[in-house]
Symmetry: C2
Subunit: 414 residues, 2 copies
């Protein structure tokens, strides 16, 4: 590894430990990392101990081993979490660990795999490892997802390059879009979060009744907001109020819209990557919250498959606002990874919404959430609609019109 | 990886799975492997599934992460095995898994580390993970230790070479000395084991009262055998009688001698590597089983430390016979790893003996073993005495003298 890159990665490791995980002296850090990126994982371990970690548990992952597992082991095996795995995740969560997930995945690792197997494994983990799952969902455990390149990912992002070069180029991109390429990434994230706080405060203050989207690409669309909707984004907070960053990078300010009030047409601004497949140049027409017509220049069948996932997959669960001036959008790179790509532009998501985006939502069951206008589905697929000249106008219950986005940027600057 | 090396490593992977672990269809394989050698670990996983493995669990290891753990985490932590780790090892052992330990270690990984920490971790694992420990000790679980190079190890074996070259050279050496460099390593191991069986049958048939060692290097030494001593070596067997190889490579035919009858002087034939330190050109003088005098051209204090471990560390627990024609000895390489180095020549071991090397020994407690002449100690340190002209003569209770080794080779050929 080149010396200057190595020094910058030390700063990135510190950022993940100090800001992403807000690691406290004596606390356990659980680090999930690809074996191929052991060099960087060791930097994170070093940073964690330097920050006073009580202990670091590294959970190593390998796409090829996982792929062989899914290829060779019958579905049954995946329908329950192994007892030792449950003991590991729940035990560490109960001990108050922070969880840092270093994502570096071959975008094609699951190509050709029976999707029922990874789906069963995820469902089992979510329903059986409850201390782990709830610890993260209810602010008892800090968690952070951040990226680190592996060769097959880097070569998909930068096709035609030798593996080593592609990895270096992806490191460069990751540092840049994660706002970790400067002299003081931690200060950069303090400033970044102050902007989040300001944007959320303004949006939540307006309590819009609906948003109106317009763009020269044909987008002409109205989206209803639920009473008591909450805009989220930037830092998360533990129950004790400690700030941490669930995603590094993150650029989105988001809420969950009224599942019954979406009308008009939206055109895609960027390709949609779903389970290794790409949908390009597509549009969706909504009536009373539901998709009633759609088409795509490429990958229409993928879109159709998403919309048919369940009866609520054709309704919206999220709308997110992201300026076109963000480093991810400026990079012009398609990362083939939601952590980055969903932060590239204003987006909507088909499928499930977020209970935390509705006042009282965390205490409601599924039926109550739906009754309050918050969509519930087994899927959640983001798609990018943030064209360069997108305008978003907020309309209050009293009919006041407030420019929110003009020409793809926040109307109030930043 | 070069094409021909890659193809040979596929054969090595098959050897470990088929012969080392004798993996059965549907059986779980637990593979412990260094993250740095993921390329080869994946070959083993592939070989295991091809052999019908029900599932493969990979337990990844990393010397640098381990070293940081020992440097930063207090002793307390290591005095108990983590509950999830116990659940993992015991659970997999109880499910009948085969355990394959791929050893690739930086010989200096623990240099400067408080030895109480790794010692506590090992003790905790041995005393707390009883299904795992006993499963392997009592033939319920198959286990196999084999080698795979990592850069820091390879560069210690071949100093001055760049990491990549050193690793390739160590791969070459490992394949050669593991009898896995030919067209059909598995057939090679069948032949190899037939030789073990023959040597054990002959030695056990003679039931010697004592052995007499002589060499031009000054060795002149008599070693008593216990009544009911058993020579072991080569394949191990599960309770159901399935043969497997606990060590690949292995060249030694060994037993545990009478702890009270060792007399005379033995001179080292090769350096002794202990906890990263080297002892060279040393000798030990025994009287009535105990070391009464010793010296070394280099590392005398290491030897002294070993002898003082406990009150039985100055008595012998093992004598092993290995021809000078074996590939390890022929390679002339000091591997800085017991798996290889103990197979380089005839050796003795200070410290604890093996209950399985005494008729009925597996059913005896520590005091009974000692009463039957089998040494018991918390240490076991092999040292090499197999000089090129070593002769070993077996003497039966009736005084018959049988040449066992002549000029460093089995007297009966092979």
């Amino acid at each position: 590894m080149e010396q200057s890159l190595s020094a910058q990665l030390d700063k990135y490791a510190d950022l993940l430990v100090h800001k992403g995980c807000a690691l406290q002296p004596g606390q356990e850090l659980v680090l999930q990392a690809p074996v191929e990126r052991a060099d960087f994982a060791r930097k994170v371990v070093r940073a964690a101990y330097a920050a006073g970690a009580g202990h670091v548990t590294v959970i190593w992952a390998d796409d090829e081993v996982m792929r062989m597992e899914y290829q060779n082991v019958p579905l049954d095996y995946f329908q329950h979490t192994q007892p030792w795995k449950k003991a590991q995740l729940d035990g560490l969560a109960e001990a108050g660990a922070a969880f840092l997930f270093l994502e570096g995945r071959d975008p094609q690792a699951l190509l050709g795999i029976d999707p029922a197997k990874p789906a069963a494994a995820a469902r089992a983990r979510n329903t059986e490892c409850l201390s782990f799952r709830n610890g993260m969902d209810f602010g008892r455990n800090v968690w952070c997802i951040a990226g680190a390149p592996v060769a097959k990912w880097a070569q998909q992002v930068f096709p035609g390059l030798p593996a080593d070069e592609a990895v270096l180029k992806l490191w460069d991109a990751i540092l840049k879009v994660s706002r970790a390429d400067g002299a003081d990434p931690e200060a950069e994230w303090d400033r970044h979060n102050a902007t989040f706080e300001s944007n959320k405060r303004l949006l939540n203050g307006y309590a819009f009744d609906h948003l109106r989207y317009k763009s020269s690409n044909g987008t002409d669309f109205t989206l209803g907001m639920n009473p008591g909707h909450i805009w989220e984004g930037g830092a998360g907070h533990t129950q004790e109020g400690r700030a941490f960053f669930p995603n590094i990078p993150t650029e989105e300010v988001f809420t969950s819209p009224d599942r019954m009030r979406a009308d008009g047409i939206v055109h895609s601004a960027l390709p949609l990557v779903h389970a290794g497949q790409v949908v390009r140049d597509f549009w969706l027409r909504f009536e009373a919250g539901a998709v009633v017509e759609f088409d795509a220049a490429e990958g229409r069948e993928v879109l159709e498959h998403i919309l048919k996932t369940d009866e609520n997959a054709m309704r919206l669960g999220e709308c997110a606002l992201i300026s076109k001036d963000t480093p991810i959008r400026q990079s012009g790179i398609l990362f083939y990874d939601t952590l980055y790509d969903e932060n590239a532009s204003c987006h909507l998501a088909l499928g499930t919404g977020f209970p935390e985006c509705l006042a009282g939502g965390l205490d409601m069951n599924k039926d109550e959430l739906i009754a309050h206008g918050l969509n519930q589905s087994s899927t959640h697929v983001d798609f990018m609609i943030g064209s360069d000249d997108l305008s978003v106008t907020g309309v209050t219950a009293s009919g006041e019109e407030v420019p929110v986005f003009v020409d793809g940027r926040w109307a109030w600057g930043k």
